[in-house]
Amino acid sequence: MLSRAALLSGQQNRALVALAARTTGTTACNNVAASCDSQVEMTRPVRMEPGKVRMGFIPEEWFNFFYKKTGVTGPYTLGFTLSTYLLSKEIYVLEHEFYSGLSLALMCVVAVKKIGPGLAKYLDKEIDAYETEWNESRVNERQVLEQQIGNEEKMQWSAEGQNMMVQAKRENVALQLEAAYRGRVMTAYQEVKKRLDYQVEIQNIERRIAQRNLIDYVVRRVMSSITPDQDKKNIDKCIADLSSLAKA
């Protein structure tokens, strides 16, 4: 109740007020039970920083208490003069225990200053490891839950894709119909074209055969009409022409 923490947060005052209210006005409290409760309720205490001290053991509040009247050096002066008075009047006796206490204090200070930080770090590390080990289960559970939520949402999104599948199915049907239609159109076209081309080809073939036959006939007739006499005259003429050409 007298702790620095409670003092600083003023909960003591609130508690006193609540105590006073409860002892003096009972009916009022019964009617507004909710508001009374909120006054009485304390927030859960959490570990705070240790109080500030000077020189290791003198609280800062004592210095602040003196600051208004005597400034910065007030408490030091008080300490010095007080200790001078105590020593000179032998109210504080310097005997054997004092000197052993002094040596012990010196060794403690040296030990804390030298080993303190290292030891504190090591202990903090151990505590942190201990705490993470305890927290692991919570962290894991949170991760698993969040993953499961993500999975569920992904499943919902996937399920919606089925609508697109229906569209794809419709398109498949349309494609099949279209393929059939185009096939029919092409078949009709090709059949007609085949028949017309056939007729045209017949014509071509007939003309070609007639042409060949005619040529054969004409050549045969000409060949047969050449008498041997005419043949000899032709050859002589050819030779004469050749010789005239050679000369020219």
Partner: protein, 174 residues
């Protein structure tokens, strides 16, 4: 019903493929193969037949009136678009799918609510470094120390309780 001509795919296959869950990928690939097959068959033929040069044939073919006859019949030819018999099935399928999806969404949302509740419970727990032993009992009732309902054997370690005791290592006390 007016026949709808179609010449290419209007489906966004990439986004559809994204939505397919892992265990249905094979089915999806088979489905896409079918679709590609249909598309190929469509592409094999041109959209409409090329025009026939009637003047050329009229000049060439000697058979009287044959070309004219063909021309008349060909232009009068009207190839019917194949009827669509299965769209009704697709419509019923679509309705089924929609109701299935709605049902699944409801169940899935219920599960998500459950998970969210558990998450909220998790975050409402105070951190371990602020707990007292009483708080631990409030948060984890089954694991807290409870000598009345769940007494433990001395020396109260985990290995000394009956269900965990290793009887093969037990010494014989006389």
């Amino acid at each position: 019903m007016a026949a709808k001509r179609i010449s290419q795919s209007a489906i966004n296959w990439a986004s559809l493929a994204e939505r397919v869950p892992e265990h249905q990928k094979n089915i999806f690939i088979a489905f896409k193969a079918k679709h590609d097959n249909y598309l190929r068959r469509v592409m094999a033929n041109p959209e409409s037949a090329p025009a026939i040069d009637w003047a050329f044939y009229k000049a060439k073919v000697p058979v009287a009136g044959m070309v004219d006859d063909f021309q008349k019949q060909y232009t009068a030819l009207n190839i019917p678009y194949p009827p669509d018999n299965v769209s009704g099935q697709i419509d019923t399928l679509e309705k089924e799918i929609k109701s299935d999806i709605a049902k699944f969404k409801v169940e899935s949302s219920a599960r998500i609510e459950e998970y969210k509740k558990q998450l909220a419970h998790l975050s409402s727990l105070i951190p371990f470094d602020q707990m007292t032993m009483e708080d631990y009992r409030d948060a984890y009732p089954e694991q807290a120390l409870d000598p009345i309902n769940r007494p433990t054997f001395w020396p109260h370690g985990f290995e000394d309780q009956l269900e965990n005791k290793d009887w093969s290592k037990e010494e014989e006390h006389h």
